[in-house]
Subunit: 417 residues, 2 copies
């Protein structure tokens, strides 16, 4: 067995162990932020990295850092992702990136020990807190706090559906610390693609060059509660109004796709009140989004959706209230990072091309903060946020090999300005 | 002050007290079955009736009976309704009928004491358990068990959303007994109309002659969970499919109404899984119904709805599974009971006419079991299952006067075959 074979077997064995935390019957994981399985997998990761000489701690928002200080006082190149999942999510999303970072960092330590080389920067692994945002909003919470996009106070006060705050949940599971995050000189993240463009093109590696733009809507449709015996003309049926909104978003996507525009529209959260069998619903709260690579088309889709609101209000005799709307344009990653990743992939003989990310990642926060590299490996059929999410072993392993090379060059200062 | 004035003031004072149990800020009540407010209002009712010499007990499914035995061993004429409510329901629905029954029974006792008359039957008040069915399904639970339409075992095992059974909830609040229900010779119920046909016609009393027919659907729309970044063509969006079903039911009602058919269609319960902001929903569970007075049109509406399923399955790439469907035709009340109520209203000089009930009531069960009378008083704007539900004092009081006369004649044997 070559050293590489041993390393790869170790990675796959660790990956299987990791997938047992919050494992579901359907082959996925249910490991929402600050739940017991989330705490367990963090303790397990700590064991792996402490035994290799890393110092592991939590910061004040529950981000987990594992640091290896080779160069006293020097900043860190961090690699990582998140180990929390959606309810009934896949075992690759996020988790793969953290474990790949851990193995890349362990290989880096081993390689430098063997070669006697030194580096400009130290290496660290990060397991961000609450990337998914399913239990506690907003998503990408840990990296948002670290990069100053969200205050620690607002993050800790965020409540789940049962009124439990992030602060309480973190304290209860001892997933919170007092230490600051380390000084960071650069960030690298690898993730399974949430789509199948790599698979379609027969590529092993995606060099992420941009996020898509997005508009996110937080909407309440307000009607008036009534007995389901109430005559149709006397109703103000919030569910009819909200259903029309869901269909409107779908129809807009269909129209834009027919014109050749790459776009997706979704409604993921949709909660009906009072939700009782013989009651015409009084209210529906819904979170919708439109995502598109093209800023002009995104604006047009947003306008097209809003243009339908008055008609829906009239049809269902309801009011549509928007609590909040966030939007951002397509957000590019630095060319230097993309070029570094390209060179590493080429040198390793891994097939690769540029790719977009429709979804947000912790690297979307980090790239505005420090030099950042974002990598994809393929996902079979592009299945994501689903227990059936799957990436082939060889792709997982090639990703770890590439990430090791990327962080190695970054610790030598490859992305220094 | 006349005796009638004193009685009416006492009724309105009791009505105000009763409305404090589970009172909501919006002027309604939230008094779901086997919750603390439901238990409280029952203890309060017991106090009122025990102090007038009634014997009060619960049966094995939590129906509350208050019995006055004037004629030893004779069966009872029962009057009543239910004091449980929908979430954020009105303070009249059901509760009015129980309090009207209590006052009618107290007046009956007082009248017979004063006149020295006797009667063929005894009088009793019933507060049925769980008419609403919002917390525990099915609705009309207590009267269904009493009339043998539901087994006591199935009723006690029914679970709420937290997995608490009816049996556990009743035990915890000591709302359950060991005694059998009394022997029943007839049943009378008064209720606020859940519509505004009486108001529109300027009538005080509705003589309920029939229920509407209904088809009830318990449907699960199954898609496949995905990231909201997933391409539209790769999705199996359960929420898009379920929204189409909601709109289909509305459109069918519109089409039938345009042809002059009286019909209502509704979806009251609609629960989305996993209900997370960035996840394409995997599943929606929904309870829908169609109600119509005309059996042929009801069948056509049911067929029209089902005819759309295949198209919806294709549109959203989902499957529509029906767990259960119940249906019943328009269900008439006995002419003898309607004629008795008509004669009483005419003798009292109360304006009246026949009416339909679109909703089910405990009397819908009882009328298949014993001679039954069902009465309506008007509801302003027909508002129902809503905190703003309202009936004028004079209508409430006329209803109690009429109910007193009806039960008085029933205890004399007016509805004996």
């Amino acid at each position: 067995m070559t050293k590489q074979d041993t390393r790869e077997a170790a990675f796959l064995a660790d990956f299987a162990s990791m997938s047992s935390f919050g494992a579901t019957a359907g082959g996925g994981i249910d490991r929402q932020a600050a739940t017991l399985p989330d705490a367990q997998v963090r303790t397990w990761l700590r064991g792996i990295l402490e035994s290799r000489g890393f110092r592991v701690h939590f910061d004040k928002i529950g981000n987990q850092f594992a640091l290896f200080e080779l160069v006293p006082g020097a900043p860190y190149i961090l690699a990582g992702s998140h180990m929390d999942s959606q309810p009934f999510g896949g075992r690759f999303d996020g988790s793969y990136g953290v474990l790949a970072a851990a193995h890349a960092a362990m290989r880096w330590v081993e390689n430098l020990r063997e070669s006697g080389e030194t580096a400009k920067y130290n290496i660290g692994v990060v397991n961000w807190f609450n990337e998914e945002g399913s239990r506690f909003k907003p998503s990408m919470m840990g990296s948002s706090v670290l990069t100053g996009k969200l205050t620690i106070e607002d993050a800790l006060a965020s409540q789940d559906h049962d009124g439990v705050t992030v602060g309480e949940a973190l304290e209860a599971l001892e997933m919170i610390g007092t230490e600051e995050a380390p000084k960071i000189a650069g960030y690298a993240e690898i993730h399974v693609e949430q789509g199948h463009t790599l698979e379609d093109r027969g590529l092993t590696i995606g060099l992420v060059e941009s996020t898509w733009g997005a508009v996110k809507y937080d909407i309440t449709v307000k009607g008036d509660q009534a007995h389901s015996a109430t005559r149709m003309q006397d109703r103000h049926d919030a569910l009819v109004g909200a259903s029309k909104l869901v269909i409107a978003a779908r129809e807009i996507a269909d129209e834009f796709l027919a014109r050749g525009v790459d776009i997706v529209t979704s409604c993921g959260e949709f909660t009906v009140f009072p939700n009782s069998p013989v009651v015409v619903p009084s209210e529906v709260r819904m979170l919708m989004d439109i995502r598109c690579i093209d800023a002009d088309e995104l604006t047009k889709a947003d306008e097209a959706l809003r243009a339908r609101w008055a008609g829906i209000e009239e049809y269902a005799a309801v009011t549509i209230e928007q609590q909040e709307s966030h939007s951002w344009g397509a957000n590019p990653y630095d060319d230097a990072g993309i070029e570094l990743a390209r060179a590493c992939a080429a040198d390793l003989g891994l097939s690769h091309d540029r790719a977009f990310t429709v979804a947000g990642h912790d690297s979307t926060n980090m790239k505005d903060h420090v030099p950042t590299v974002m990598l994809f490996v393929p996902s079979v059929d592009g299945i994501s946020h689903n227990e059936k999410e799957y990436t082939k072993d060889e792709d997982l392993l090639d990703g770890v090999t590439l990430l090791t090379e990327v962080v190695t060059r970054m610790t030598r200062g490859a992305l220094d300005a």
